[in-house]
Symmetry: C2
Subunit: 199 residues, 2 copies
């Protein structure tokens, strides 16, 4: 796509890392084209291999492809600002996580953390596929998600993810067009410290 | 290392994904050798580029290198079973996350999820370095971590991570030696479902 943004032109690492981490960003511009079930399964496959406490694998993914009977149910959960661009997504995913350990029923203190690891795998796998983009969202109705998708009380609602084909920023509503660029980060000194908490 | 385990000999993906996800596993066998500060910064650099709600970057990493005055403080937080092998780790990290949004002080509903994404980046970056291994841990004293490392109430204690050089499984205590292999996963059908929650 002619006007597709290259994150590596915007982001520079302060210390040598794999490009995959810089190339992963969260575009809103999606083309409205479908993503195949086989491609989607490759994303879940990557998520599957994330680590979890006692290998609990407490993450669960509910999803809907566009142009299916399930789509509207997922789309309606989103806040208006997310609907404005998710109408061109190919797949919407709701991520939930089991709050208790399967082995003994005790609280799982790291269920959200572990699930984040699975989500990051999913997003990084998309980067390797080059024509699939992802965008994680916190902006949706969590109560409605639980109700409309039948999520049991023992599971927490974590996030939603839009998956799609890269689109053209010029097709976004104006307010979102200006935000359509890879975000930067604070320096490492703002997030890592030797010894005690001294931020 | 002659007896170093190759995860790709144990793990097979059901759908095509990057090898990086299969190569990431959680060995306990570490050699007791140091990992340099520059190598550690490469791990934090990868973590830094994870996505977060409103680019909050709510993850914080406190760490101690072995053979420093901070080491014992971190080591003492671990449960005995983790101390048994972490004595040969090079760096111990405590991961915490800010529970409220910096912008407006409101609760951040995805602080643990976002932090998991940063942690996964850190672990995957280690995979690309080939002579650095990581192992996430939930088994440590969270109250002591808060107290001993001065973590404010506005931050949640998430996990600890051991970073080290790959070691020989034969040096592990017998009970851990048998567990020293890459874990497998349940099938995708157990974690992903179209439409409503039907697990």
């Amino acid at each position: 796509m002619a006007d597709r943004i290259d994150p590596l032109s915007v982001r520079k690492a302060d210390h040598e890392i794999s490009d995959i981490f810089l190339k992963r960003w969260s575009p809103r511009a999606m083309s409205g084209e479908a993503v195949s079930q086989e491609e989607l399964l490759r994303l879940f496959e990557a998520a599957r291999w994330a680590p979890s406490s006692y290998n609990e694998q407490e993450w669960r993914f509910l999803y809907a492809h566009r142009d299916t009977s399930e789509w509207q149910r997922f789309f309606d959960l989103l806040v208006e600002m997310n609907q404005a661009w998710c109408k061109n997504a190919a797949v919407l995913i709701l991520v939930v996580s089991k709050k208790t350990m399967t082995q003994n029923g005790k609280p799982n203190l790291v269920h959200s953390l572990d699930t984040g690891m699975a989500v990051q795998n999913l997003m990084l796998q998309a980067v390797t596929m080059e024509n699939v983009v992802t965008h994680g969202m916190a902006g949706f109705d969590r109560d409605a998600a639980r109700r409309e998708l039948g999520v049991p009380e023992d599971f927490d609602i974590e996030c939603m993810i839009a998956v799609g084909r890269p689109g053209s920023p010029s097709d976004l509503p104006e307010a979102l067009r200006d935000k359509e660029q890879p975000s930067l980060r604070r320096p490492i000194d703002a997030i890592a410290r030797e010894g005690r908490f001294t931020f």
